[in-house]
């Protein structure tokens, strides 16, 4: 076996130029895939954290049917005091949960006394909200970092359109659940950078102000946003929450709550999935490149070394040994190519990080892409390459082992 490896390796280095060419081809392919995977992975996680850490949270809990009519922010689908208590008690029993924030959401009219416009408002507890969506405070481009009672955080576009500044007084008028309207004066406490996606252009007020403006006699919230310790535990936590909270039925025997992971709440999840599909196709291309180049170079080797193979067979080398020899040669090429690719790819990623590539995502400008080479990716891609090399070498190897020694020896 050891000798077989020696012979295989020496044969790999026997045709230096061809081997170098094949290794470079595979190496460049592997490097390309690795860079693509690591860049898209960091882009993905950046995008996901922009969305989930700015407004969505990782998981949201609503009254059943709320998400379906989310556009109208229906007050009649809020969670009542009993439901809130149930949710809070349930969430307390989940060690995976880092924080949660109850929100009252409603649509209203924002007026600067000269003109008015529609606004969507989140009434939140500032501490709980920032614990649940930590990027919220970093979105405040001007003014106070927190949401004091009596103040409102106004989204950037609305502030510009309505020409309001920090310290200005504005009125928010909201329709209450019974159909009456109620107005309330706020001081503009801060201007919020907009974020692409649902909820990215909402205003924020203190939850107590929300109760007053909506004239809620008893506590009621539209949703509870939840932050997990690990975003990856989303599906599992959602499933367990569905099980626990699903036991609570209303008078009609229907479940009271609905629970959604962030992937169900934003169309950007489709982009994330598209990136995965692209990665898949790029890997397919790599497989094709490896398959064709290895198969080609191995068939060439078998053709050129026909006499040699004939000699080996004539002096009694078993066909299985000859197959192994050529598989090992292919494997050697694949391993060298994968190693070259891993090195090249890692270098490219380091260079990319050093050069601080910036890109824009929706309203956010100049995000810095900092990608990391994931060892698991390197391992996966290398394994794919090795498996494909073996596959590609199989035909040439079998052809070599099936050569008739007489014919092979006659060939010049």
């Amino acid at each position: 076996m050891f000798k077989l490896v020696t012979i295989a390796l020496r044969n790999v280095f026997r045709y230096k130029r061809r081997t170098l060419l094949t290794i470079s081809l595979i190496g460049i392919g592997v490097a390309f895939v690795l860079v693509f995977v690591s860049v898209t992975a960091s882009f993905k996680s950046l995008m996901i954290s922009e969305i989930t850490d700015s407004m969505l949270g990782h998981v949201q809990i609503h009254r059943k049917g709320y998400v379906a009519s989310l556009d109208s922010l229906p007050l009649n689908l809020n969670l009542g005091p009993q439901a809130i208590k149930t949710v809070e008690e349930t969430l307390a029993g989940f060690p995976e949960i880092l924080a949660f924030s109850p929100r009252i959401k409603f649509g209203g009219v924002f007026s600067n006394f000269i003109e008015s416009t529609n606004i969507r408002v989140n009434a939140v507890d500032p501490d709980k909200e920032t614990a649940t969506v930590p990027l919220l405070s970093s979105r405040i481009i001007e003014g106070s970092r927190t949401i004091a009672p009596g103040t409102i955080l106004v989204p950037e576009l609305l502030a510009r359109g309505m020409k309001v500044k920090i310290g200005d007084v504005a009125v928010v008028v909201a329709t209450n659940e019974d159909g009456s309207v109620n107005g309330f004066q706020f001081t503009v406490g801060g201007i919020l950078r907009s974020v692409t996606g649902p909820g990215g252009r909402d205003g924020y007020i203190h939850i107590e102000d929300g109760r007053r403006i909506l004239r809620l006699e008893e506590p009621s919230v539209s949703e509870v946003a939840v932050r997990l310790k690990k975003i990856g535990s989303r599906d599992e936590v959602v499933a367990r929450l569905e099980k626990t909270l699903g036991e609570h039925k209303n008078a009609q025997g229907r479940p009271v709550f609905e629970i959604h992971g962030w992937t169900k709440l934003t169309p950007f999840f489709n982009i994330v999935q598209m990136i995965d599909v692209m990665t898949f196709f790029i890997q397919l291309m790599l497989i094709a490149v490896v398959l064709i180049s290895i198969m080609n170079v191995m068939l060439m080797a078998v053709y050129e070394r026909t006499r040699e193979i004939g000699t080996m067979a004539a002096i009694g080398t078993q066909p299985g040994r000859i197959i192994s020899l050529f598989l090992l040669e292919g494997l050697g090429l694949g391993l060298l190519g994968a190693a070259a690719g891993a090195a090249l790819g890692s270098l490219a990623v380091v260079l990319l990080n050093v050069s601080q590539v910036r890109f824009n995502f929706g309203q956010q400008k100049g995000l810095i892409l900092s990608s990391k080479m994931n060892p698991v990716d390197i391992l996966t891609i290398s394994l794919i390459v090795v498996a494909v090399t073996l596959l590609a070498s199989l035909r040439p190897a079998r052809r070599a082992s099936a050569l008739d020694p007489i014919k092979a020896l006659r060939q010049v």
Binding site: K3, L4, I7, R10, N11, R14, R307, E308, G310, T311, M312, A313, A314, I315, G316, T317, Q318, P319, R321, P405, I406, L409
Partner: protein
């Protein structure tokens, strides 16, 4: 005991609709330890015959026993095992493995064919490389050797497994006559020291002096029996 027993073997090559009879009703025996040559002009069937004895091809008809085995019935795998166990091959074009050194080429059949264990292997290799006078070149690669040196290595490779029979198809055809003489003498001295049977083919009549038995082939038929060499028994039946 006779190492090779051929009883009216014939070999036809079929190329499309054309049928070429390369060997026609050939019978002979090769006794153990003899130094036998098949002689004849090009196209007379020497290679065909050696391929049959070497278990690389099968006769179209007739019976052929080599080292006590009816070689007509061997499949690919068994044929390879049989060759590895009982036969050694020397080729006209030397056919050393280019990526292996002299010593490694000699070692090859021990490792890859016979699976002989390391220490024993090295001793055998050293002995054979020495015996063919290639000890100083043991770490050279084939492309650093002359034709005669390559054929010496090939002889060592053929003998290292201690085969019953060494087959050599025109082993001197690619060598100058002086070197050819040296190679034949080397083969013969190996036969003398090891007792290995040698069967080779040649169209070079000068070499024939050295052999115990000469079989002459013409157009696929054995034409005459030569005198057995002094002290060696051999026979051929037409």
């Amino acid at each position: 005991m006779d190492l090779v027993v051929a009883e009216s073997i014939s070999k036809d090559y079929v190329n499309g609709k054309v049928r070429i009879r390369a060997l026609n009703d050939v019978s002979f025996r090769v006794g153990g330890g003899t130094f036998v040559s098949f002689v004849g002009p090009s196209g007379s069937g020497k290679t065909t015959l050696l391929n049959l004895i070497g278990c690389l091809d099968r006769p179209t008809s007739g019976r052929l026993r080599v080292a006590g085995t009816d070689v007509a019935g061997l499949d690919r795998r068994k044929g390879a095992r049989f060759r590895g166990r009982h036969l050694g091959f020397i080729f006209q074009d030397f056919n050393l493995i280019p990526v292996l050194t002299v010593a490694e080429n000699v070692e090859y059949p021990l490792v890859m064919v016979r699976g002989v264990e390391g220490g024993k292997r090295r001793a055998k290799v050293a002995r054979l490389v020495e015996a063919v006078g290639m000890a100083d070149e043991r770490d050279k690669f084939p492309d650093q050797l002359s034709g005669g040196q390559k054929q010496r290595v090939a002889i060592a490779r053929a003998l290292v497994t201690e085969p019953d029979l060494v087959l050599a198809d025109e082993p001197t055809a690619n060598l100058d006559s002086h070197t050819a003489g040296l190679i034949i003498r080397l083969m013969k001295s190996m036969r003398d020291t090891l007792g290995t049977t040698f069967v080779f083919s040649t169209h070079d009549m000068r070499i024939v002096d050295a052999v115990d038995v000469v079989h002459t082939l013409r157009d696929g038929t054995l034409v005459k029996a030569a005198d057995p060499g002094p002290g060696r028994e051999g026979e051929s039946r037409v």
